[in-house]
């Protein structure tokens, strides 16, 4: 893993001094020890400091004979089975993550298992060596699903192995799967389902039934973790005392920065909007906005590549219409998981009232007793159901299938919690202290005769004037990071996918430590959609940006996309890669990212004189080394 560790950008004045001035406890270190510790402490990032604290605690416990020796992780893998028979079973927690949720859940799960005396190893599937599977004893899997039933992108290799013929039989393995997904998609939690099925096929014993979680995953995920920890705890016989495990095998999974953890989606920071402008020039076929929000007073920090979570509200006009159609009073009290509130508040802030889920369809079918809805519920009606859900949002269903005298609580109980939306941050704290800039594509479309907007982008476009307040939090994106050294970078982005590169280049400009950089940007029309054009021109002029290529797909003449430019510059792209360049892809996941991936494979194949297989290995190698990073959506 390549989580960038660098000195804090701002020093929170005098913390080091406090250490020095603080009273030395009676079991104090020697002067030499103290000096070494101080030297070490001053060089640590928050994540490292956290890790070291665990390490030291482990030493303390080991000295008391309470826990596993520190050196456990250093043992060769094939000794684990031996060790397992003698002591507690080996426990591994594997996660596959796209947005970081599964990683966070894995961390929490590890913590909970430690509390019952277990010593879990937490590993990202992307970093896991599948041949170790045979050595595993208890395997807990947490994975999200990406797009149309696919695994998280970086976990694709793990899935290929496990679903392939080389997968070993695993008669000694016990496993459990926690699956995350979005029920608005047809292949809900499919990645988790696949693993759950496959491990059974491979002969492993299911420790606990799989749990499928929707985007409001907290509650079911918590329940599953509790259940699985209980199972493991039974197994461990409750003999092990609570302890602190000093080490995690694999990679130290850095939590988001310490400050970022103080605000999260449950506790967002109320950020004031500083600027909100339309970047798209006249005649543009879409509306792209640039927002700047102030993080002043929050101590929130982020790295270039991170995202900002925005807790948007529903459109008040829609809230009003929903209540009017249902003849409900906004002041009616309703109770949500989060607590008591009014219906109006709930519909505005807490539940999703646009996209209709299969669950809502079921709910409404029951309430309305409409034959058409009932028919769509049938198992063999998948396609029609999906088509119906694409063509009907909640308001459309309410309009078409009225339910007189509906109870407010009854209605709300069929709705999903409103989820925050993540936007790649388009600024660097180094260049814009205490600010986060966003590049927002405003989703607008017509459906059933109405002009509609995306929940978050509509809020940001229509109700986020300067001085308005937006609830936000920082969402770390550790797999999209500038290199720690000055190696060259190739940044490929289409549309708003260019946002993190603005952060990258701002960072490199201010810190003055960057190597060569090459931006390949694509959008529809040169005249209206060349996002941040004047800034790129200036960065080129100032030498911060070394090269730039652009592709516009809707200008007169031949349609050009970013991959066409890559192909035109194939020799240079390959030369940069050979020189050690990192390559980044950000933007559209459905077409752009696969097209670019294929093009890169072609370039490597032709320029490197490699077989298709070898070129694929080359690319996989880049991915494994975190030199090929993607942030696609």
């Amino acid at each position: 893993m390549n989580s960038v560790v660098r000195p804090p950008l701002k020093t929170s004045g005098g913390q080091g001094d406090q250490y020095q001035q603080g009273a030395m406890p009676s079991y104090a270190l020697t002067a030499t020890q103290w000096s070494r510790l101080r030297d070490l402490a001053s060089s640590l990032s928050p994540a490292q400091a956290l890790w070291v604290s665990g390490y030291l605690a482990g030493i303390a416990n080991a000295a008391d004979g309470l826990a596993m020796p520190v050196s456990l992780a250093e043992k060769p893998a094939d000794e684990f089975a031996e060790a397992g028979r003698a002591g507690p079973r080996k426990l591994t927690i594997l996660y596959g993550t796209e947005s970081g949720n599964c990683q966070a859940l894995a961390q929490s799960l590890a913590e909970q298992t430690r509390e019952v005396g277990l010593a879990p190893t937490v590993t990202d599937m992307a970093d896991y060596k599948p041949r170790l599977l045979k050595t595993e004893q208890d395997l807990l899997i947490i994975t999200s699903t990406y797009g149309e039933g696919d695994p998280p992108q970086r976990a694709a290799g793990f899935f290929e192995f496990i679903e392939g013929r080389k997968a070993p039989s695993l008669p000694d393995l016990r496993f459990a799967v926690l699956a995350l997904g979005d029920s608005a998609y047809e292949f809900f939690c499919e990645a988790g389902k696949k693993l759950d099925r496959r491990f059974e096929e491979l002969g492993a014993e299911r420790l606990l039934d799989r749990a499928d979680c929707d985007i409001d995953f907290e509650e079911p995920a918590t329940a599953w973790r509790k259940a699985v920890v209980a199972k493991l705890g039974e197994q461990a016989g409750g003999a092990a005392k609570a302890s602190i495990s000093p080490l995690q095998h694999g990679v130290a999974t850095a939590p988001a920065s310490a400050a970022a953890r103080s605000y999260d989606k449950q506790h967002p920071f109320q950020a004031a909007v500083i600027e909100n402008i339309v970047l798209s020039g006249r005649g543009a076929s879409k509306e792209i906005r640039h927002l700047e929000v102030s993080l002043s007073g929050s101590d929130l920090s982020y790295e270039p590549g991170d995202a900002l979570g925005v807790l948007a509200n529903n459109d008040p006009a829609l809230v009003d219409e929903v209540m009017a159609k249902l003849a409900l009073d906004g002041a009616t009290p309703v109770s949500l998981k989060a607590g008591e509130t009014t219906l109006a508040q709930a519909l505005t802030r807490h539940v999703e009232i646009t996209t209709a889920t299969p669950r809502f369809l079921d709910h409404w079918a029951k309430l309305s007793a409409a034959a058409e809805l009932a028919r769509l519920q049938a198992v063999d009606q998948t396609e029609e159901r999906n088509a119906f859900l694409r063509g009907h949002q909640i308001i459309d269903i309410i309009r078409r299938f009225p339910v007189p005298g509906l109870d407010a609580g009854e209605f709300v109980s069929g709705l999903r919690p409103l989820q925050p939306r993540l936007y790649s941050i388009a600024s660097s704290l180094a260049a814009a202290p205490e600010e986060a800039h966003l590049t927002v594509s405003v989703v607008r479309y017509d459906l059933n005769g109405d002009r509609r907007s995306g929940v978050a982008s509509g809020h940001l476009a229509d109700r986020a004037e300067p001085e308005a307040v937006l609830p936000v939090y920082v969402h770390a994106n550790p797999h999209f990071r500038l290199p720690q050294d000055d190696r060259p970078i190739i940044m490929i982005g289409a549309g708003t996918g260019v946002a993190p590169y603005r952060a990258f280049l701002q960072e490199r400009e201010v810190l003055g430590n960057g190597g060569p950089s090459w931006l390949v940007f694509g959008d529809r029309n040169f005249r209206s959609d060349f996002l941040y054009q004047a800034e790129w021109q200036r960065l080129m002029k100032d030498g911060v940006l070394t090269r730039m290529d652009v592709a516009f797909s809707r200008d007169r003449g031949v349609k050009k996309y970013v991959q066409h430019r890559l192909l035109e510059k194939a020799a240079d792209i390959f030369a940069w890669l050979e020189e050690g360049a990192n390559i980044y892809v950000c933007g559209d996941a459905a077409n752009m990212a696969p097209d670019v991936h294929q093009t890169l494979a072609t370039i490597i194949e032709t320029q490197g004189n490699l077989s298709p297989g070898a070129a694929a290995d080359y690319l996989r190698g880049l991915q494994r080394d975190e030199r090929y990073q993607r942030d696609v959506y």
């Binding site: 402008i277 339309v278 798209s280 020039g281 040169f526 060349f530 996002l531 054009q533 004047a534």
Partner: protein, 579 residues
């Protein structure tokens, strides 16, 4: 004998004889441009910007192309983090404003494809495209090439498009003079291999011949304007040309030309040393000496013009600096003969005569009023479509007039009904039903495309005219022809300094008001009000027009009256314009 020998004490400190380091930066730019190639070809390939490199913007003027941007959007796009909405004005070289129907159709097609569906007729009798994007430039110029048109030296420090009276009434004389104008244009422009290489993708040919035998590496000190006029209509404003040829006819037709030198409009509000100047008639030449005379006059300006300060580089300043007699002697020295005394001639106006005329060969010509030369379709008046339809049917030619109007020329008697039918069908038959003031008005393009404009012109003058028409109507003067011209800046593309009522832009909605110009272009006007808005302009005009209506002498023009009544003093020489 060389000129230096004739005039040993001539100051050569500011001209071509000096090393580049002693001259202005544009001289080095030209000299180092590899004969106008610069980095234009590379600039066209740069996808990151709709602009070209700064030096290339200057060189491209010689190619007839001006980089501009939509000034209405400048601030908006800056806030949007976008570069200005760069686009290009492309000016066709069209000697005498004459084009064929096939050429018209190509111009129309290119304007619809690349030029925002509009064409602009100019005060120098040609077509301008605006709004051409960089990546459409090549297609536009190659399209023109298909119709045997080009844009060479339509701008730049060279001989600009050569003008010629449209003179619809006398066909043979027009044909003879136009032929000379066209051939003078062909001879006077740069050879421009760069143009063929860059725009037509022609190979660069190695040659030991000098690329520009006349111009050399630094071309002219500034633009050089040539025009041919056929009295009695001074439509080309011959006194505004650097070099004017005034046709003198005899019983057998064209005999020769009076030569006028040193006209020019451009001035700056910041420098009193800059001023508009009217040309001086220095003599007469027989018709067969036109090319030699053009080369001699241009040669004198090429060699003696000021190359240190572009604001003083026009021929008019060279003449005032060296003296008219000195210049005339230098020209004669190059010609190898003395000019004959000027022959008598007579101008009556510098406007167009509208509607149908029939010439001595019984061919018809229709002069169509086109407000400010703007060819565009409006909902109630599909001018562009109508002219395209005429071009499809027409078997004669078109002539763009120096007043930005259009002559549908050389219509055979049997074809006239068809043309009349199209004019009716497209609601163009009423176009000429305007006040005499409006028919004698000219506005330059100005905002939003022109980079020099400080105030509106084309978009504003029509409204201002409506208000002045009301004043004239009150005083029964709606049929009185008064020349009125507006430019968005002091450079004076609409030749505002020889209008009876002239305006030059100073700031948004602020203009200088000039009065007293000669009705047929024979006298400069004089500033009456400086930097004023519409209210003050109308108040002043109300007072003076009322006075004019009450006290004008019979046949007295408004400009003459303004001087007689003492509103402004008469300007007899350009260098006294600012006094």
């Amino acid at each position: 004998m060389s000129e230096t020998a004739i005039y040993p004490h001539t100051d050569r400190s500011r001209d071509l004889s000096q090393p580049l380091s002693a001259l202005g930066p544009d001289e080095s730019l030209k000299a180092n441009s590899d004969h106008l190639r610069g980095t234009i070809a590379l600039s066209l390939l740069d996808r990151l910007t709709g602009a070209v490199a700064a030096d290339d913007t200057k060189l491209m003027k010689f190619h007839g192309i001006y980089q501009q941007d939509d000034r209405d959007l400048r601030d908006e796009r800056r806030r949007q983090k976008l570069e200005p909405a760069f686009q290009f004005m492309v000016r066709v070289r069209l000697a005498g404003g004459v084009c064929t129907p096939a050429q018209w159709l190509k111009l129309d097609e290119l304007a619809r494809a690349h030029g925002k569906e509009t064409l602009r007729l100019t005060t120098r009798q040609t077509f301008q495209f605006h709004w051409i994007l960089k990546h459409d430039l090549k297609a536009t110029i190659q399209g023109l090439h298909d119709a045997l048109l080009d844009t060479i030296s339509a701008c730049g420090d060279d001989a600009r498009g050569v003008m010629c009276s449209v003179n619809p009434a006398i066909s043979q004389l027009h044909a003879d003079v136009y032929d000379l104008a066209r051939r003078t244009s062909d001879r006077a422009i740069p050879r421009m291999r760069a143009y063929h290489e860059i725009w037509y993708d022609e190979e660069r040919v190695a040659t030991s011949e000098p690329e520009e035998p006349f111009y050399g590496a630094t071309y002219m000190p500034r633009k050089f304007k040539i025009g041919f006029v056929i009295p009695p209509v001074n439509d080309i404003d011959v006194y505004a040309q650097d070099l004017g040829f005034i046709a003198i006819g005899g019983p057998a037709g064209l005999e020769g030309f009076n030569v006028a030198i040193g006209g020019g409009m451009g001035r700056s509000d910041q420098s009193a040393a800059t001023y508009p100047r009217l040309a001086d008639v220095i003599g007469y030449i027989p018709a067969d000496q036109v090319f030699a005379t053009a080369e001699a006059v241009m040669g004198v300006q090429r060699d003696y013009g000021d190359r240190r300060d572009r604001a003083k580089a026009r021929f008019k300043y060279t003449i005032d600096e060296k003296g008219l007699d000195w210049i005339k002697a230098a020209i004669e020295a190059r010609l190898g003969f003395a000019l004959e005394p000027a022959r008598p001639f007579h101008f009556t106006s510098n406007g167009d005569s509208f509607g149908w005329t029939e010439d001595e060969t019984k061919r018809s010509h229709f002069t169509l009023f086109i407000e400010n030369g703007r060819i565009v379709n409006r909902p109630d008046r599909p001018l562009m479509d109508g002219l395209r339809e005429i071009a499809r049917q027409h078997r004669g030619t078109f002539r763009v007039t120096p007043n930005q109007n259009l002559v549908i020329a050389d219509i055979a008697a049997e074809d006239r009904p068809a043309i009349e039918q199209i004019l009716r069908q497209y609601h163009l038959d009423g176009s000429n039903a305007q006040s005499a003031l409006r028919l004698n008005s000219i506005a330059c393009v100005a905002l939003p495309t022109c980079g020099l404009a400080m105030a509106e012109s084309e978009r504003y003058l029509p409204d201002l005219l409506t208000k002045i028409e009301a004043i004239l109507g009150t005083h029964g003067l709606q049929d009185e022809p008064i020349t009125i011209r507006m430019s968005g800046c002091p450079n004076g593309c609409s030749r505002p300094y020889i209008a009876e009522i002239g305006f030059t832009g100073r700031a948004p909605a602020k203009y200088n008001l000039y009065l007293g110009g000669g009705f047929h272009g024979e006298r400069l006007n004089k500033m009456y009000l400086e930097n004023v808005g519409e209210g003050e302009i109308l108040a002043a005009l109300e007072k003076i027009i009322a006075h004019y209506a009450a006290e004008r002498a019979a046949g007295e023009h408004f400009g003459d009256f303004a001087i007689r009544a003492g509103y402004v003093p008469e300007v007899r020489e350009g260098r006294h314009f600012n006094n």
